[in-house]
């Protein structure tokens, strides 16, 4: 028996984490969005063979996770979910790029492996940053900021409802599966005879559910426009936060900190 109940509740934990009131959560949504974008851009701008230079950037997610009181395990689980995608994106690099760049004993390290490592680290960092943004800001606040920044309303509404509906629809899927499992005696997955009717069931049920929710929204005056409210940012801490991280990012980007630290400690030995 799959632990459906616990799994589907898990889906919404990001939303719940966003309701916390830590210093990070209290920053304006725009500030956090800006900082996250800056972080992602800096990460993306590193050269494809850069690995050591990326290491100090880990500092950013760690600080946010700690100050924002986010559970590590949850973010790790999400990362595991996208791990196959990361592997797939980077997989071809070692095959195509076979120029040896270093040798550790008999082991020859090719440029492809280095860039594979670099891409993986970059993807992990940027995805983590995005997850942290959602978990510390909430999708609603992010969307209203996007809207204020000039992203067209229909697009923002799309993002918002896609996020909301995915949860609702997944719930419906999991409930149907659970109902099936509870009444099927063999617990080894779903029998192939049942797949057809079960899939049809799922489709109809999710459509009906989405329709009922949409009706409920209409009944409460929804007309395709949502009024998005944001809490006004407290100017000074927000500015400091943004400027501070920007400084740190530029430092990471312009100076290879680990290398610099190495030369500093060893006194610049060749």
């Amino acid at each position: 028996m799959v632990k459906l109940e616990s799994n589907w509740l898990d889906l919404r934990t990001l939303d719940e984490l966003a309701l916390q009131k830590t210093p990070i959560h209290q920053l304006g949504a725009g500030t956090k969005l800006g900082t996250t974008l800056a972080f992602i851009m800096v990460i993306a701008s590193f050269s494809r063979y850069e690995v050591t230079g990326l290491i100090p950037c880990v500092f950013y997610p760690i600080v946010l996770i700690t100050l924002g009181r986010l559970p590590y395990q949850l973010l790790l689980k999400r990362l595991l979910l996208v791990a196959p995608v990361i592997l797939f994106i980077g997989l071809f690099n070692p095959l195509f790029d076979r120029v040896p760049v270093a040798a550790v004993g008999p082991l020859v390290v090719t440029g492809g492996w280095i860039s594979f490592l670099s891409i993986s680290v970059k993807l992990i960092l940027t995805i983590t940053a995005a997850l942290i943004l959602i978990a510390t800001t909430g999708i609603h606040a992010i969307c209203s900021t996007l809207y204020r920044l000039g992203v067209p309303q229909p697009l923002v509404v799309q993002i918002l409802f896609m996020y909301r509906y995915i949860h609702v629809l997944l719930e419906e899927v999991l409930k149907t599966l659970q109902a099936y499992q509870l009444r099927s005696c063999h617990n080894s997955g779903i029998g192939y005879q049942a797949w057809g009717s079960l899939l049809g069931q799922l489709l109809l049920r999710t459509i009906a559910r989405a329709q009922r929710i949409y009706q409920a929204m209409l009944c409460r005056g929804y007309d395709g426009h949502i009024i998005l409210e944001t809490t006004a940012a407290r100017k000074k801490p927000d500015l400091l936060y943004f400027a501070g991280w920007l400084l740190f990012f530029s430092l990471c980007r312009l100076v290879n900190l680990p290398q610099w630290l190495g030369t500093f400690i060893t006194g610049g030995l060749p």
Partner: protein, 256 residues
């Protein structure tokens, strides 16, 4: 909007799959009336209520609310007038927190944020769910969800209140609270229910549905004394009317 009346003439509805749920049903409900709609499972109560705010549009016949026909054009106005509590609260709650959910309607009405706040607080207080404000709705118990769903509608201050099984899944105390709350709501109210004791308590008029048409429409007390009629509609007399010594004793000092 002075008159919150409701006129239904020859209303028929057939679901897309061919199920004829309502057939040539006519009724008039006056301003300030409180009406119970009772009937067996599948008799058409939910279908009838769905026509009152345009969730379903008639296959034949018309529905008029406050003099306006319910059509695609009048829907925005109709939906401000008619507040609908759905049978399943899960369909009604979709925002991340209880507070935001209750605020959804008032915000859409374009109220300034201070008014929104006042209305949300008032509505949640009325249903006794103020302390749930910051909780996510999908984590509430069935009865708490029901209370919040009612608050979402109360926050819009509708002129006609329509409820589908409002007391289902409520514990006796919450049920009693709700009944007292509904009693204070002096506008027109229409309640579909299997809780006949509540119907007797709140509604002076009762409409009995069977197979999509009206079997009987009359004063509640009278309808519930008509045993053959109740049996025909798969209903039973409310406990408070049955001559059970236990119930009538508790009746003596209670306002059941």
């Amino acid at each position: 909007m002075s008159h919150h009346t409701l006129d239904i003439t020859d209303l028929s509805y057939t679901y897309p799959d061919g199920t004829a749920a309502l057939s040539a049903l006519s009724l008039h409900i006056g301003h300030g009336e409180s009406v119970a709609i009772v009937g067996a499972n599948g008799s058409g109560k939910t279908t009838l209520l769905s026509h009152l705010n345009g969730v379903l549009l008639p296959t034949a016949g018309t529905v008029n609310i406050g003099g306006f026909p319910v059509t695609k054009q009048t829907l925005p106005q109709i939906r401000r007038t008619v507040g609908m509590v759905f049978q399943n609260p899960d369909d009604q709650l979709f925002m991340p927190t209880v507070y935001e959910d209750v605020a959804f309607g008032p915000v859409n009405m374009g109220l300034p944020s201070t008014d929104v706040k006042a209305r949300v607080t008032a509505a949640l207080t009325t249903v006794g769910a103020l302390e749930l404000s910051d909780r996510p709705p999908y984590r509430l118990s069935g009865g708490q969800k029901r209370a919040v769903a009612i608050a979402t509608v109360l926050a819009m201050e509708p002129a006609i209140l329509v409820m589908d099984e409002p007391t289902a899944a409520l514990d006796p105390w919450a049920r009693r609270q709700l009944i007292e709350l509904l009693r204070t709501f002096t506008h027109t109210k229409i309640i579909a229910t299997h809780d006949l004791d509540m119907a007797l308590d709140l509604c002076e008029r009762t409409i009995v549905l069977a197979n999509g048409s009206i079997l009987k429409d009359g004063p509640t007390a009278e309808v519930f004394r008509n045993l053959p009629l109740l049996a025909q509609a798969h209903l039973e007399q409310p406990f408070s009317l049955q001559n059970c010594p236990l119930c009538s004793k508790s009746m003596g000092n209670n306002t059941l």
